[in-house]
């Protein structure tokens, strides 16, 4: 976990935009533009003044350093920030500074030079109530401003900004040696004597333009240090910070060196927009301000919002997620200990798209997987989040659904088809048809029908994950270590990562390579291939699927961003922990374009079918499976039945064998209407669960009766979930009237009035 926490040192959230970074004053452009785009000039003026100290002077003199840094400059024209500033200064009506009532500080500062740099420093320090004295060798303030601006402009600005501050101004007072200052009890000096002025030995010292002499800290800056007027002004402001640091810590800290902006430009944000030409005597009208301010694309590093669905959905930046995740996985027994990210950690789709694009190299999906392992280890994982999937995996690996066989008459397999557990669950033909085809092409193709074990990884159970992988390896070895032909890109990715010794190849590459005689299909529409996140950047598979689709005569169109679109919503098994988020992701992915999709991961297909997005599996096209009447999604119970049917069909049709192991049939004659069936499916309740609850109620007689309705209600806790059932007895049959569940446990029911009443609760 520490490794991932460390990666966040590179997080660029809050990194200054290009323009702010290059600006000598680091004006908060994001804030300024937001206010300008609302025509809120007074508020924008405050933002501007807070950064530059003298807004009229700066807006008049700034040569717009930011223009060179603006990414828009490369496309049309940089955002005209200086014009916006000029407009802001002209249109603001409340320009007086705030008169802060602060306690007087017990430090005396001398400022040598009443030019723009010295004045800026004096303004900042006097507003913080330091005792400031300015020594100016001439008879007027302003220094080089007299050569640059009409005096009424800068003198008025200086007057306005200083109006509430007390400071001493000594004109015609040339300081020739530092002793003149030290004798007067000053604690520090800012030397801003202008170009070729006296530096009192402060220039180019070890820590910058600063030194301690005669027990006085001397800082130098402005034109004296070779700066142009704007940088000279900024120097004055920065030096007030250095002086404060010195007063508080006794250390000399010269303002840090400039570093280039690290934000990575996002080309998608930039759309050509012509610059606005001001029509109101050189400044913008209100409408023009809005237009120009909105030409600014507000450069920020926000790849996470764009490529990390969970960040967009929860409106949380990864830094905040990091803090919540860290708090959650910090081991603690205390009841008061907060673990706020349990749901967040289990919502993630585990699509590593963001990990691949984050300019800071933050592997957030990996971090979340690590957090799942830790939650499980610490016993903090909400069991209900993964119970259904783990039971589903166990069923797929049980004798009722799992199958490991060499091809008929073969001792071992050169290849083995590994369809994954969900393909046959969706429709047994998705497995039986391709397998027959594979056998016709290579008779030494066996089959390994089981789960790849990814559900346990997502549930965070490292130990069980290892056991499952070991079991898979054993099965593979028994088959003679064949190359596995993978139908599910997720299974393939999973095995490649955890079992590199097993050679795998995608079914779709094999279909493309071994087959050529595909029957054409008649489809009028243009389709788009939806690459699952497990096949992102896996070009051979992507190409094979497109070849196959085109071979059967389908016209294809790519998505605008190719395969850079994230998960369909199935990944990470987050739909139980956070159904709203899974639904959000599914909807986002269904709307990549208007075309119907072709999927080659059955989970993606199922998700899109659930969203009523027209979608075909590539196997539909090749083997004519669900081309006409797609019967829709099977329920959770039907999926299990399909798995059993698949095994039975394969055994019968390929090996001529009879299936002996079949799941026990429910001993009750159940009547379940379509509405209840739908509800059960939504709550992921199996008919098997219903039978278990009923059996328990009948045996223990623990049930309640509603005479008016004639119904019984009973419950049973199965794993982490409590299942409730309301039913009516109709002759020999049981009509299910209602089902519902909760995750809380009912405690101590067996202890009643201080004694144990029933030993048979579980």
């Amino acid at each position: 976990m520490e490794k991932y926490i460390k990666q966040f040192e590179n997080c660029l959230q809050g990194e200054k935009p290009f323009c702010t970074n290059i600006c000598p004053f680091h004006v908060d452009i994001l804030d300024f533009q937001a206010k300008m785009s609302r025509n809120n000039y007074n508020s924008a003026y405050k933002t501007f003044r807070n950064a530059v100290a003298f807004p009229d002077i700066v807006s008049a003199l700034c040569p717009e350093y930011c223009a060179a840094a603006c990414p828009r400059g490369k496309m049309d024209k940089s955002v005209q920030i200086n014009l916006l500033e000029k407009t802001c200064v002209a249109k603001a009506t409340k320009k007086d500074p705030t008169d802060y009532n602060l306690p007087i500080k017990n430090k005396k500062v001398a400022i040598i030079g009443a030019g723009i740099s010295g004045l800026a420093c004096a303004l900042r320090l006097s507003s913080k109530k330091y005792e400031v004295t300015i020594f100016e060798k001439t008879d007027r303030i302003g220094g080089q401003l007299w050569d640059l601006l009409p005096s009424e402009v800068f003198l008025e600005d200086i007057r306005r900004q200083f109006q509430f501050e007390n400071y001493t101004l000594n004109l015609n007072a040339e300081i020739k040696s530092i002793e003149e200052i030290s004798n007067q009890g000053f604690d520090a000096v800012y030397v801003a004597t202008g170009k070729n002025g006296h530096d009192f030995g402060a220039l180019n010292q070890e820590k910058g333009h600063c030194v301690i002499k005669n027990n006085i800290a001397i800082f130098a800056g402005g034109s004296l240090a070779g700066k142009d007027p704007m940088y000279a002004l900024a120097d004055g402001l920065n030096m007030s910070w250095s002086l404060e640091v010195y007063f508080k810590t006794g250390k000399l800290e010269y303002p840090e060196k400039w570093e280039p902006c690290k934000i990575v430009e996002d080309p998608d944000k930039l759309k050509k927009t012509e610059p606005v030409i001001p029509t109101d005597n050189g400044i913008f009208t209100d409408e023009e301000v809005v237009k120009e301010a909105n030409r600014c694309i507000r450069c920020q590093c926000d790849f996470c919002k764009k490529y990390f669905d969970l960040s967009a959905f929860t409106n949380k930046w990864p830094l905040k997620m990091r803090d919540e995740i860290f708090a959650t996985v910090t081991a603690s027994e205390s009841m008061l200990h907060k673990s706020p990210a349990k749901k967040l950690i289990n919502s993630c789709t585990q699509s590593t798209l963001f990990d691949d694009v984050c300019p800071g190299g933050i592997k957030l999906s990996e971090m979340i997987q690590e957090a799942r392992y830790m939650l499980h280890k610490q016993g903090k994982m909400p069991g209900a989040y993964h119970q259904f999937w783990l039971n589903d995996m166990n069923f797929s690996n049980s004798k009722f659904a799992a199958l490991r066989k060499n091809a008929p008459g073969q001792e071992e397999s050169e290849y083995a088809f590994f369809p994954g557990c969900n393909l046959g669950a969706a429709d047994p033909r998705y497995v039986s048809e391709p397998y027959k085809w594979l056998l016709s092409k290579n008779p030494k193709t066996g089959i390994l029908l089981r789960c790849c074990s990814i559900p346990v990884q997502w549930a965070g159970d490292k130990e069980l994950h290892k056991n499952e992988l070991d079991n898979l390896v054993k099965e593979w070895e028994i088959l003679g270590k064949p190359t596995l032909i993978m139908a599910c890109p997720y299974c393939q990715k999973h095995l490649t990562e955890f079992l590199p010794e097993i050679k795998t190849i995608s079914l779709y590459e094999i279909l493309d390579k071994w087959g050529s005689d595909w029957d054409s299909v008649k489809l009028d529409q243009v389709y788009s291939v939806f690459d699952p996140c497990s096949a992102r950047d896996v070009k051979p598979v992507q190409t094979a699927v497109r070849n196959l689709a085109e071979n059967v005569g389908v016209s294809l169109e790519e998505f605008p961003k190719g395969d850079k679109h994230g998960c369909c919503g199935f990944g990470g098994h987050g739909s139980i922990a956070n159904p709203e988020f899974a639904e959000y992701v599914a909807k986002q992915r269904s709307e990549l374009n208007e075309n119907p999709y072709i999927a080659y991961c059955i989970n993606c297909r199922d998700v899109f079918l659930g969203e009523e997005k027209p979608v075909l599996h590539i196997l539909d096209l090749l083997f004519d499976i669900n081309m006409e009447n797609n019967s829709g999604l099977p329920t959770v119970t039907e999926r299990r039945v399909n798995r059993v049917d698949l095994k039975e069909t394969l055994l019968k049709e390929i090996w001529g064998e009879k299936m002996t192991d079949k799941p026990e049939e429910c001993k009750f004659d159940l009547i379940i209407g379509p509405e209840i069936k739908e509800k059960m499916n939504e709550l992921k309740i199996l008919e098997e669960d219903i039978c278990e609850v009923l059996e328990f109620a009948e045996k223990s007689k623990r049930r309640t009766y509603k005479p008016e309705k004639g119904t019984y209600t009973c419950y049973r806790e199965i794993g982490y979930i409590t299942y409730w059932l309301e039913y009516r007895i109709k002759g020999e049959a049981y009509e299910i009237v209602n089902v519902y569940t909760h995750r809380m446990k009912i405690e101590l029911e067996g202890i009643w009035n201080g004694r144990k009443t029933d030993a048979d609760l579980r």
């Binding site: 673990s339 706020p340 623990r702 009766y705 008016e708 019984y712 405690e747």
Partner: protein, 64 residues
């Protein structure tokens, strides 16, 4: 409303009454009054409680 119906414990054949029940979720325990058999202590939780307040509390505890 479900609660207004007569509710009888099928085992003891007595009417269910509002009694305290202890619940536990994610290492936190709490009590709430629900229908219970005064004789054997059997609990009944209606759907609107399970889908309403209980679900809400579960959600809160999962993010706490």
């Amino acid at each position: 409303m479900e609660e207004k119906q007569t509710l009888i414990c099928d085992k003891c054949n007595v009417g269910m009454e509002d009694k305290e029940v202890q619940f536990k979720y994610l290492n936190r325990s709490f009590r709430h009054k629900v229908k219970r058999c005064p004789k054997c202590g059997q609990v009944y939780i209606p759907e609107d409680l399970a889908e309403g307040r209980m679900k809400e509390v579960e959600g809160i505890l999962e993010e706490k």
